[in-house]
Each structure stands twice: as C-alpha cells, then as structure tokens.
C-alpha cells in the first residue's frame, strides 16, 4: 500500500506539513517494501487549483491513503472521487512518526 504524507522536507525524518496543496514535499511510503519516495511539490507557489493538482500527483503515484493536516474543498472532492482515504496526522511531528501512528490505527479519518 502506498501512503502519502505531506512534509516540509525530504525523507522519513522530515517534519510534517499541515497544508495539503501547498506542502513543499509529498512523501510516498510503500508500506510493503518499507521504502520512502520524496516528491517535490511544484505547485507551492502556483496561483490556484493546487488542491486538485496535488490530488493528481497522488493518483499518479498510486497512493490510496493520505496523511495531512487540512484540506480544501476541491482537493477533498478529487481525493474522494479517487478513493483516497485521508487522515489527520494529529500530533505527529515527523513523517515516520505519522506513518507509525497511522499503522497503529491512532489517526482520525477526515475524509
């Protein structure tokens, strides 16, 4: 399963970023292989439509779960239509920790 976590930097130890569409990085964790792929978000400074465009990035990377802080309306519509489940990473500070909390079933579903 591919889990996407919004982050401020690259890698599993990066700090999480609460914004979805304007997160600097998307970290794709492959929970079966135990690998992390960091993708720089090209849309950080884009004028608009960042929500659906970010959702497209997730679809392209085959993510089925998203861990983030907050979501805009269009992003939510796109993610929902794509069948991607969204959880709030709550108090987790790093990507690895957010993923750990998710696997423990400690996160609340926001979409």
């Amino acid at each position: 399963m591919i889990v996407c976590i919004t982050a401020k930097g690259e890698g599993a130890e990066a700090a999480v970023e609460p914004r979805f569409g304007r997160a600097p990085y998307f970290i794709f964790a492959d929970t079966d292989a135990g690998t992390f792929v960091s993708v720089k978000n090209e849309l950080v400074d884009a004028a608009g439509g960042v929500g659906p465009r970010s959702a497209q990035v997730l679809v392209d990377h085959g993510a089925t779960v998203l861990l983030t802080g907050q979501l805009g309306g269009n992003a939510a519509t796109a993610l929902k239509a794509a069948g991607i489940k969204v959880y709030s990473f709550g108090n987790a500070a790093t990507v690895a920790q957010a993923l750990e909390d998710y696997t423990q079933g400690d996160l609340s579903e926001i979409l």
């Binding site: 608009g48 439509g49 659906p52 465009r53 497209q56 392209d60 269009n74 519509t77 796109a78």
Partner: protein, 283 residues
C-alpha cells in the same frame, strides 16, 4: 471616444465620478455607461430601470468517456487544476477552468469537445433619455471576470461617448477595461494613503498606452501630496471635488451632485471636454 474611470483602490469615489459624468453627458447628446466592476456592479443603484439580460458563456471541456483512454495528458497540461484524471474517469472542476482550450489540443484521443458555460450576464437598460447603462455581472464563485468585462464592453459597442467604470485596484479585469480605451480618469482622495495604489494604476495605464489624468475627490483644500504626485508623474489634474456638507449630503443619500446641486452638471460636462481635448492633442 471611450474613457475609463479607474482608481488604485476601492472607496475613492470612482463610481460617483462615473455616474455624475454619465448624467451630465446624457443631458448633452447621450452616453453609454458601462459598469465593468463585474464582481460588485453598483451603477444600476444610481440609475434604476428595466433591463434586458444576456448570458456570457465561456467554452469549457466536455469529455467523452467512450473515447477517453485516461492517459492523463489533459490533467497534466491544465495549470489551473480543473482536470484530475482518475483511474476510471476524468474529474472536471468547472469553476477552476480558465477556458484556455489547451486540454482540447493535447488530448491524443479526440475525447475533448467544448461546451458553453455561463459565468455571468450583461444587463442593458435605458434608465434616462440619452443614457444607456450596460452592467456586467459575474456569477458568484466564478473566476473569469475579464470575460464578463469583455462581454459588457462588446455589448456597449464602439459608437459615441462611452464611459467604462473599472473595478477597484489594478487586477486583470481593470487591464481588460483599459484595453483599447482612449483615456483614463484616475480618481483619488487627497490623503497620502492610496498614492501607492494610484501609482500602480498610473503604470498600468501607461503600459497599455492609455493617457491618464486625475480627479481629486473629497478634497479638504490641502492636496499638496496628491498635487506633488501628479506633477512628478506628469498627470494633469482634471477636476477637484471638495469635501463639503452639500456634496456629502447628496452623496450620503445616494444622489447625484450633477443632478441635485447647481453648477455640477456643467462642471462634469467640462471634465469631458477637457478629456476630449487631451485625446485630440494626443491624436
């Protein structure tokens, strides 16, 4: 002759100037007044009357699921996020679409066709003898203000005297309003605040090759800052409207000083003559 009434920011009395100028011109052979502040048109409040409504459609994509191979090209092309290509279908967010037509061009399967979508309306009325009022009104939640401005300008035509009331600020709709106009009247207050915004508006007009002049509104008689700004930028001061009780009283009840106070109809007519003279000087 087509002139724009603009201001660097809102609340400077731009609408007051357009409405009074139009009133004076309506009494002198006629005018078409165009409300280009499509997000918040308000000139109809000065000139109520029955209007005829026409929709403003823009082309947006329609995707044929039979032909679409879900290749993803359109979604990656669209820089506005209006298309998201999922595993089983393409999602379209109409309110994000800028009608660039790109998705139609990049689709390798010919799955995209264009359909019309209404983003606003243009209302035309004849509230006074000699006055045609054209108001662009953008639908709520839409982003394509310039398209509605363009439609309003088109409905007003090219003939005779035309006054465009621009939206406040210097964003895309104002640029669209300025495009192809002969002169720009910039309305400012005599306070130091707002000169920065006025500066932006001056530059926008200059960049489009539209000559400009200034009307100082709500003047308390101490206009040094504004006057210095104008002389530094080589801008003629076309008119000064004082902040006095009589003027304020008329404006507070939504009246027109050109109609309700003696002498003002003539002064607004002179403003037009002055603008016309400057356009000719240029030509």
């Amino acid at each position: 002759m087509k002139i724009v009434v603009a201001s660097g920011k809102g609340g400077t009395g731009k609408t007051t100037v357009s409405a009074n100028l139009a009133y004076a011109l309506a009494r002198r052979g006629g005018v078409t007044l165009v409300d280009c502040d499509v997000e918040e048109p308000n000139l109809h409040l000065f000139f109520p009357g029955e209007s005829e409504e026409k929709g403003v459609p823009v082309p947006v994509p329609a995707i044929d699921p039979e032909r679409c191979t879900l290749c993803g090209e359109c979604g990656h092309f669209c820089r506005y996020g209006a298309l998201t290509v999922l595993k089983d279908r393409v999602l379209f967010f109409a309110e994000l679409c800028h009608s660039c037509g790109g998705c139609l061009l990049v689709c390798p399967s010919g799955a995209v066709t264009e359909v019309g979508r209404e983003v606003g309306v243009v209302n035309t009325s004849h509230p006074l003898p000699g006055l045609t009022l054209v108001s662009g009104v953008m639908h709520e939640g839409e982003v394509l203000a310039p398209k509605v401005v363009a439609a309003a300008k088109e409905a007003a035509g090219e003939e005779g005297r035309i006054v465009y009331d621009a939206s406040p600020g210097v964003a895309c709709p104002v640029i669209e309003t300025l495009e192809g106009s002969d002169f720009c009247i910039l309305v400012t207050e005599s306070t130091p605040f707002g000169l920065h915004d006025l500066d932006l508006a001056v530059r926008a007009a200059a960049a489009l090759g539209v000559p400009a002049g200034v009307v100082i509104n709500r003047s308390d008689g101490e206009d040094e800052t504004a006057l210095t700004f104008c002389s530094e930028h080589d801008l003629p001061v076309l008119m000064t409207i004082p902040f006095d009780r009589g003027v304020a009283a008329v404006q507070n009840r939504g009246g027109l000083i050109a109609r309700d106070l003696p002498g003002w109809e003539e002064r607004f007519a002179e403003l037009w003559v002055e603008v016309a003279r400057r356009c000719e000087v240029r030509a």
